[in-house]
């Protein structure tokens, strides 16, 4: 009977071998995959087992961590002025995950980034717990406050950039939410009410929402006209009949009110926001040239990372009448507030568009800087001369045109208002826009775009100047006061 017994011994050995192989497969080959599986709660447990690193503005942390007293998550995230900073920080929720900077810099903030390896090793040897690094942003606290308070209880967004470097100075969105309130493990109720809110408080309008840009887009159209040599002098007459009919149609394009648009110069046309002039410029240049120019400003770029990715602003391929309407920002072209701030910034920086960014440095727990962002030129949408010409036009808009509310005494300010109609047959409340820049002795330190949704009181082009310009003005003042 011994032969079969020996075979059974081999059989039992094979069973154990199969288990050993499977164990190696699980704990060696697949270990990392299972360890970091999105449903493996240990990932979150580890993430919240120590205070998270902070996101820093003007040297002050705008985030924090508190002990929860819970079993799984020892700490949870807190935010200082959460609703104001939410469009910058995003959230780090124990249940609903992380977004924006909290998400992109998660590994730094929890201390797992490879560049923190030395730190971690030292901490391990000296018996200290793991610590997270800090993310130092480019934002300007005063400008952010001016933007957020300026928006108040209106629905809208503000984006402000330093045109010289591309540093994002303000990024506000209202209505907003306090990410502290959904950071914990038992915040389902608050989450549901935010998630179901029809005003979408968790939407980052400054980066992630696109709007028809309305008349503010005329700055891009003007740049296209000058760059393509359609007109050279901004003060000589243009070939602009009034009334003017949209190409291939019998529909006349209307201006807002009785404004002097017949054969108006580019300066006058921008000053009074003449639809007929810029609609015709766009029609004369054609879809291709308009699209090229818009793309140089950043339109149609689906990978605009600040590093939080902005929604794609669009200047589409269109037929002739639509393209003419695109030229005045009233067709299918759409832009994020950040995109329109970039338009103002490119003009203010003498034609050079800097890539917008909001993370300046990443700092290890021992205060060593492990990453520094260098400003990068993104494109040159217009020559220096043409940029100067548009600057003088935009300054006229603020000094003598529709943008008077943006004036700051003693400071050169250029701007453009806009009121974008939308909805079926323009039935819904229009969006009020204002884009502007301020000039200091050393170039322009700030360009800003403001958009306000649902300004039901005014439907004409003055809306942008009346509602959005004062907010832009306050943001510019805030930046100028800190730049001194």
């Amino acid at each position: 009977m011994n032969k079969p017994v020996r075979r059974i011994a081999i059989f039992c050995g094979l069973l154990v071998l199969a288990l050993l192989l499977r164990d190696n497969w699980l704990q060696f080959v697949q270990a990392d995959e299972l360890k970091t599986h999105k449903n493996n709660r240990r990932v979150d447990i580890a993430r919240y087992s120590q205070p998270r690193g902070n996101i820093i503005v003007d040297g002050q942390a705008i985030t924090g961590s508190v002990e929860t007293g819970g079993v799984d998550f020892k700490y949870k995230r807190t935010y200082t002025d959460g609703p104001m900073w939410a469009p910058v920080t995003g959230r780090s929720s124990q249940v609903y995950g992380a977004t924006q900077l909290e998400n992109l810099y998660d590994r730094v903030l929890i201390g797992d980034d490879d560049r923190l390896f030395f730190n971690r090793t030292v901490d391990m040897i000296t018996g200290k717990g793991k610590k997270g690094g800090d993310v130092i942003t480019t934002l300007n606290g005063k400008a952010q406050k001016a933007a957020f308070e300026g928006l108040g209880d209106k629905k809208g967004a503000v984006a402000a950039i330093d045109p010289r470097t591309g540093k994002i100075l303000a990024l506000a969105s209202t209505p907003s939410y306090d990410p502290s309130k959904i950071a914990g493990a038992n915040d389902g109720k608050e989450w549901t009410s935010l998630d179901k809110d029809k005003n979408k408080p968790m939407l980052n309008r400054a980066l992630r929402e696109t709007y028809p840009p309305g008349s503010t887009f005329k700055v891009v159209t003007a740049a296209a006209a000058l760059e393509n040599g359609l007109y050279k002098d901004v003060d000589s007459k243009t070939d602009s009949p009034l009334p003017w009919t949209l190409p291939d149609t019998v529909t006349p394009l209307k201006n807002e009110g009785d404004i002097p648009c017949k054969d108006a110069s580019l300066r006058v046309a921008l000053q009074w926001s003449c639809n007929t002039v810029f609609g015709k410029v766009s029609a004369d240049l054609g879809n291709k040239k308009m699209m090229d120019e818009a793309q140089k400003f950043g339109f149609n770029n689906d990978k605009l990372d600040t590093p939080v990715r902005a929604a794609q602003s669009i200047y589409p391929k269109d037929n002739r009448p639509q393209n003419a309407m695109d030229g005045i920002g009233q067709a299918s072209n759409r832009a994020t507030p950040l995109q329109m701030a970039m338009v103002a910034a490119a003009v203010a920086n003498d034609g050079k568009l800097m890539e917008p960014y909001m993370v300046d440095k990443v700092r290890a727990p021992n205060l060593n800087v492990i990453e520094t962002h260098q400003p990068k030129e993104m494109s040159q949408p217009m020559s220096r001369d043409n940029a100067r010409k548009i600057q003088s036009m935009m300054e006229t808009v603020v000094n003598e045109g529709t943008g008077k509310n943006g004036r700051i005494s003693g400071v050169t300010v250029g701007g453009k208002t806009g009121t974008a109609q939308h909805g079926v047959a323009n039935s819904e409340n229009p969006y009020a826009w204002f884009i502007s820049y301020a000039k200091g002795s050393n170039g322009s330190p700030v360009a800003v775009a403001v958009v306000i949704e649902g300004s039901d009181t005014m439907r004409d082009d003055i809306a942008g100047g009346a509602l959005a310009a004062p907010i832009a003005k306050k943001v510019m003042e805030a930046v100028l006061s800190t730049a001194k």
Partner: protein
Amino acid sequence: MSAMPSMPSSAGSNTTATTTISTVGPPSRRNTELALLAFAVILPCFAYANVGLALNGEMPSGMLGYGLGLGLLGGVGHLVVRKFAKYADPLLLPLATLLNGLGLVMIWRLDQSERLARLAKAQGFTFQASAPNQLLFSALGIALFVAVVIFLKDHRILQRYTYISMVVALILLVAPVFFPGKFGAKIWITVPGLGSIQPGEFAKIILAIFFAGYLMVKRDALALASRRFMGLYLPRGRDLGPILAVWALSLVILVFETDLGSSLLFFGMFVVMLYVATERTSWIVFGLLMSAGGAAVVGSVEPHVKVRVMAWLHPFAVYDNPRPSWATTEQIAQALFAFGSGGVFGTGWGQGASDLIQFAANSDFIFASYGEELGLAGAMAILLIYGLIVERGVRTALAARDPFGKLLATGLAAAFGIQVFVVAGGVMGLIPLTGMTMPFLAQGGSSVIANWALIAILIKISDTARRPAPAPAPSPDAEMTQVVRP
């Protein structure tokens, strides 16, 4: 196999030899066993201290009692073996003690889990520490071990109870059908006020006795009366009876008790023993075909088994949105996470989060807890310990001099091995999960008690196998020739 290795080779032919038979038998290896046993007690003590230090930063207060308790259990076992089974295999007792001790540590460690305590509270239970009970069950297990070693003078006595064993085993197997099922499987006999036992664990041993006794008698008929067909010996129709009966029984268990594990275990054990008894490979082929056929049919028809199979194939489906209706538990996924998170070296005692498996983290899924806290290294060590126990059992079968002992030892060792494979394989996602427990490690009274009895029987068989034959009575003729001297 020679029972008297020290016999001089010239003894048979040389009539003038004065010392023909050595009175010194083979080494008993009891001191080896004692040394290994000391190791098997000290190792869990270190583990215990480790858990305390990891969880609370101090030596656990119950350390002394635990160490003494485990030492006492192992010590009593050893003394009894030394007295009543002197030539027993020296590895079985220390290996079982080591597993039992490590199991106690992990159960105690999971008792400290705040997560499990809160879970119990949230579900309206009072959270009970399982370690004290498990220590009690271990003591009962050792008591049964001692009783078997002392009172079972010779394992061949068991042969007398072949058919009684059959009846008892059938009762044990069928009884759970009449009791309410728990957690999707009807494998418990519940006595109100006293708790519940898993009769399957005991049935395993009793069935092995029945199979061994039955096959010993019938093996010639099963082996010889057969027709050859395509290189296989086909048994006669009427000889197919027993295997068909056991097959039917295991299917009945599968269907009515929805217990895939026991079903696989009993059928596997029977096929192994049948093969050993008849030395006919055809039985293995038959066995495999029948179990595959049975499992395929039941697996596709019986909803509970089907759920298990689906959960095995798609362990992470429970997180899908929308969730499939059959994905009711995240236990398998959590067990896989536990293994993966442990990696090669593990998190260390007390520092894993295998309590995320929640319910049954210390019983059916305890192996995942070891996988996480001791890593691949520790989990492989545990699997190898199990492997050693099985192979010592098979070694005992090889050494045994009687066919009944050979069959019984093979059956018990194979059953132990199959059980480990079915449970560990289920927890690691190698095969569908079943409702059985890791012998000695897992929390559960029936399992630990029954497995101590299993070890005791193996120890008795190995003792008989290695015990030197009594010295033959001196021949009066030889005495005579010795007297006459030149």
